[in-house]
Symmetry: C2
DNA sequence: TGACGATATATCTTCTTGATATATCTTTGA
DNA sequence: TCAAAGATATATCAAGAAGATATATCGTCA
């Protein structure tokens, strides 16, 4: 696959531009929005957000505003038409294959028979995390049902993805625990 | 959750140590091994592998050997007892929650009704990628069935995870395409 | 013999994460 | 009413990771 294009492109900007479609917000507010809606498949740190916003302002993709609040100044950003266009163009590009780093699977892969109990503990922790995530998704689904505006369908599809992924992982956990139990019986 | 421990720990080393359990190998060979077995849930670049190997040698976790081959010198590394111990200790630590970055879902999340065709194209590409991955996993499963040595069960569980994840994603793709088709009917 | 692809080591830049610093604002309880 | 705690807000740094690229040798096929 001889690709010349740089796959190293900063994607933080698109996440921020997308969030700014909903209205102006400060870097801090953008981070909060992200953590309440996108975290399950996308996250950014302040170390990425603030510099990216500044850079995008230089490029004319967003516009900052100085808003004095008491003794301090907030900098709410809003998306420009150029920003909207850049986001639209990016949306049309086929998404790059994700790179996954799953620490649980890595530990499992290197485990030996004597690590059985360790592995079972890891699986059990994973189950708890997934169950909690499942509840979060179910609550989000209820909230989403209420507000059926434009683009609603696509957002609900991302949520459905999360729900199915969690369910599949829980089923795998059950399978894995059972297989490891069998192992114990045999010896 | 007041955690003092640095979550910023280099994990490349553990992947390399794990691979070195199977026998000595050069950085290049380690990369190849990784790409043929772990890629589906873990990957590393040369930019990580070579410096990490050097660093681990200084710490006494691996041992380099100078092996002249014709005009050039290979540097096969082998794991030391200290390395084995460090790996074992890491295996016992509960895995950190993965951070996911799914570009497809991000694009979906920001999509508007007019992006319908773009989204369908992305989904269709995703389906092809998943189908190809599914075939790879099925072939790997057959290979794995043959060699049932120690630790075989854990490796087969990681493969089973992959198979189930791919299957779940394919089912979601079908669901998503159907939902978007409904949308078209309605207007 | 030359071309090509695989082997092998290495470095650089950019991107990303997590930790930390600083300061103000808001809320809550003593 | 004062202090403490916690939320808001901006920012920077170090370490880690990804991707691109450079260099050179080896084996093999035409």
């Amino acid at each position: 696959m001889e690709t010349t294009k740089k796959n190293k492109e900063n994607k933080t900007r698109y996440a921020l531009l997308g969030l700014l479609l909903e209205g102006k917000a400060t870097g801090y507010e953008l981070k909060k929005k992200m953590d309440s809606s996108l975290v399950y498949f996308w996250s950014e740190s302040f170390g990425q957000i603030y510099p990216t916003l500044k850079q995008m302002e230089e490029e004319g993709l967003v516009q900052a505003e100085e808003q004095p609040v008491g003794d301090k100044i907030r900098y709410p950003y809003s998306i420009t038409n150029k920003g909207r266009q850049v986001l639209r163009e990016w949306l049309a590009i086929p998404p790059a294959a994700e790179i996954i780093r799953n620490e649980l699977l890595l530990k499992l892969f290197f485990a030996q028979p004597q690590d059985k109990d360790t592995v079972l503990a890891h699986l059990s922790q994973q189950r708890l995390q997934n169950q909690s995530l499942q509840r979060t998704f179910e609550q989000l689904a209820e909230t989403l049902q209420v507000s059926q505006q434009a683009g609603w369908i696509f957002r609900s599809l991302t949520l459905e993805y999360g729900l199915r992924a969690v369910r599949a992982e829980l089923e795998w956990l059950t399978y894995a625990e059972r297989e490891i139990a069998k192992l114990t019986m045999a010896r």
